[in-house]
């Protein structure tokens, strides 16, 4: 098992495995998007309270979920990088941090487009919205720190430490914001107002969540391959690979 992991994590093997996986995940991603969009935009009936505006859920919830999932995987990669010094972990961090920030931004902006017709305002200082905004700041801090450190090895370790500090703090931040929010406003706005969710509404949502996950995987694999090419361009196997 351990040997297998090490073998997989060698950039050369990862590069080749990623190359064979990418077409499959992209096809899967396209199919899931197709089903999710048709199901979500056409087949699902309008919500009895929110009308057609609820259809924003199919892009909003997957973005929000991915913004958190990517952060958790970044923190796991950070631990792996610090403890076992696996180069691949840092490559994953380098390419997924901007993607995580992009999903966080999407969750916030689609949330604003949902909030305007439902609550009458683009932004409320709701606990979830505020936590998501702070998550965006943390992502941008990690990216800024990586960009500022010239040496790759140091950038890897510094961002790994910051990511781990972040994963310890994010629950505390989220709790404190939730607590502050209940203190300030009597009633809290719940984002998932649709409590009764019909299967016709739910299945496309699952499809979209899986589509987003597949999309993120595909992009991370493509970007990781690019990063491996860039970092290992002097190595024998890359030169051999490029020659044929």
């Amino acid at each position: 098992m351990w040997l297998w992991i090490n073998k997989f994590a060698a950039p050369k093997n990862f590069y080749q495995i990623a190359g064979t996986i990418i077409p499959w995940t992209s096809i899967l991603c396209a199919l899931l998007f197709l089903y999710g969009l048709i199901g979500g935009l056409i087949l699902a009936p309008p919500d009895y309270q929110q009308g057609d505006a609820f259809r924003i859920i199919y892009v909003h919830v997957p973005s929000a979920l991915l913004s958190m999932l990517i952060y958790i995987s970044l923190a796991i990669a950070a631990v792996i990088n610090l403890v076992w010094r696996i180069k691949l972990a840092d490559i994953i961090i380098a390419v997924s941090a901007p993607l995580g920030a992009a999903f966080t931004f999407l969750a916030l902006s689609t949330g604003a487009f949902w909030g305007k017709p439902m609550w009458g305002t683009w932004w409320v200082w709701d606990a979830r919205l505020t936590s998501e905004l702070i998550l965006l700041f943390i992502y941008l801090g990690v990216i800024a720190l990586r960009a500022a450190i010239p040496l790759q090895e140091s950038a890897a370790r510094a961002s790994a430490i910051l990511l781990i500090v972040g994963i310890v703090n994010i629950p505390i931040i989220h709790y404190s914001v939730a607590w502050w929010n209940t203190l300030h406003q009597g009633e809290t706005l719940t984002l998932t107002g649709a409590s009764l969710i019909a299967p016709a509404m739910l299945h496309p949502l699952w499809a979209m969540i899986l589509a987003f996950i597949c999309y993120a995987k595909t992009i991370i694999l493509i970007r990781a391959r690019t990063e491996i090419l860039r970092r290992e361009k002097q190595s024998q196997w890359i030169q051999a690979f490029l020659r044929n």
Partner: protein, 226 residues
């Protein structure tokens, strides 16, 4: 150095830190001046009306404290890096987190304590009344060590970079949000005559969590070669 006990090395570092601070006491005044100027700007920018000032005073003071603390943190480890004292710490046989804790205690005494005393004075200028000022002092006493512990991680991560102060601010400020929330809400609750033990307990819990963890993360960050 090997025969030094942990206890003794802690005190040596602390004494060294305090001595350095006393020799450069004019530098210690800058964050205090910055703090006082920020507090002056708010009544000018918003309103001098006492009832409004009284309402927003805890928030103003705490934001000013966050910024002044970060400003003062900018020089933590920096002179040690330039003088080579930091390398001595890194290769010492004593546990690095312990030495960092001693440095932070020294930093708290020389930078945060004056800020706390000054805010007690300036809180009156913002029309805060007695029970609220007392709670403000309590939150400051619990909160400022936490700010230093978290800030030291950011300081260590950005230490060897050029123009690192702004980057440190960006990295550290999001992590200050829980301290800010619990502190200001405690002071506001005190103004309304409510119990503040919940907020103070949360701050104490965060402080107890940060005391062992943050110096450890700071030590890991300091060991990164750049």
């Amino acid at each position: 150095m090997d025969h030094l006990s942990y206890h003794r090395s802690f005190w040596l570092i602390l004494r060294y830190e305090l001595l350095i601070a006393c020799r450069h006491y004019t530098e210690l005044l800058n964050p205090l001046l910055f703090f006082a100027i920020i507090l002056t700007l708010f009544p000018l920018a918003i309103t001098p009306a006492p009832e409004i000032l009284q309402h927003i005073a805890p928030g103003i003071i705490w934001i000013a404290i966050l910024l002044s603390t970060l400003l003062a943190l900018d020089k933590l480890f920096r002179e040690d890096l330039q003088s080579g004292a930091l390398d001595q710490l890194l290769i010492s046989s004593q546990p690095l987190p312990l030495l960092i804790l001693a440095k932070l205690l020294g930093h708290w005494i020389t930078s945060s304590l004056p800020l706390i005393l000054l805010s007690a004075l300036l809180a009156g200028f913002l029309q805060m009344a007695y029970p609220a000022i007392k709670v403000l002092m309590e939150t400051l006493c619990l909160g400022t060590p936490l700010l230093l512990l978290i800030g030291a991680i950011g300081r260590a991560l950005t230490l060897r970079l050029r123009n690192s102060a702004l980057l440190m601010f960006l990295i550290v400020l999001p992590f200050y949000i829980p301290v800010l929330i619990f502190s200001t809400s405690a002071v506001m609750a005190a103004e309304q005559g409510l119990s503040v033990s919940g907020q103070l307990a949360w701050q104490a819990v965060m402080l107890i969590l940060a005391l062992p963890l943050a110096p450890w993360a700071t030590a890991a960050a300091l060991r990164i070669e750049i």
